[in-house]
């Protein structure tokens, strides 16, 4: 821990001692991804250094938008890049990639999804209320300095090509790095 200088009761730490936080996104659902990115961008703007971790379907919101039947999902080689071990790939990964929602615009809701009508309605309400859509929040979070990391096992199993499949840069790391960040942070939460 860095030594505290000056009165420690000050509500605002000096600029070189920004608080840290981690947000783990497991869910591939629009509602949870929205909350995760609203908290991330909001906390980063308030002065906390936020690191976002994505595992399993949580990484779906970072993928480039591809519709269920788009050829880019079904007629493409499995991705290559950091974290991938192509020699252990199996054909089923093509099926998982094809069926897995790709991109913030294609995420379902955890409740009231109604085959895609729910997310459409939520987006319409959000637009009318002046709320930022998820894609916008992701880019704002990146611009504010939020760091993105995707779990290596998920990158390999879901055959994500980093960075080609992603709309924002992300690192590929394992649980040991996550542990170090969690241990050094004041705020850790999972969605």
């Amino acid at each position: 821990m860095p030594p505290a200088d000056g009165p420690s009761a000050a509500p605002h730490p000096p600029a070189n001692a920004r608080r840290k936080g981690t947000i783990l996104l497991v869910s591939g659902e629009l509602d949870k991804a929205l909350v995760a990115f609203e908290v991330a961008a909001g906390f980063q703007a308030m002065g906390m250094d936020i690191s976002m971790w994505f595992v399993l379907y949580g990484a779906n919101c970072l993928l480039k938008p591809r519709a269920l039947l788009s050829p880019g999902k079904w007629w493409r080689r499995l991705g290559a890049g950091p974290g991938r071990v192509p020699e252990t790939d199996v054909g089923l990964q093509h099926l998982v990639r094809g069926l897995n929602p790709s991109g913030a615009a294609h995420l379902p809701l955890s409740q009231l999804n109604f085959g895609g009508i729910g997310p459409w309605a939520i987006r319409r309400i959000m637009r009318a209320k002046g709320m930022a859509p998820l894609e916008d929040l992701i880019h704002r979070a990146r611009d504010l300095g939020v760091r993105f990391t995707i779990c290596q096992i998920c990158v390999d199993a879901m055959a994500f090509a980093v960075p080609d499949d992603l709309i924002v840069p992300a690192e590929v790391k394992g649980v040991s790095t996550y542990y170090l960040e969690v241990a050094a942070a004041d705020y850790n939460v999972a969605f």
Partner: protein
Amino acid sequence: MADSIDKRLDVCGVCCPLPIIRLGESIAALKPGQTLEILGNDPVFEASVRDFCHANGHTILAVRPLDHRCIAVLIRVRA
């Protein structure tokens, strides 16, 4: 008063957390001691700006309610 404002920011029509995100970006571009007036109409706008200033050490110089739920907050950037 008006000629002492170094920057004006209008975030009317957008809601949480966009006002504080844009406020943070604007304040980062200012020098210590400069002033910024932010205008917003989000229902939690005033509380958001107060919390932001409290967390980051900026001073709120004035809060003026305007028309249509708009509020103008004048901030001095932390020295």
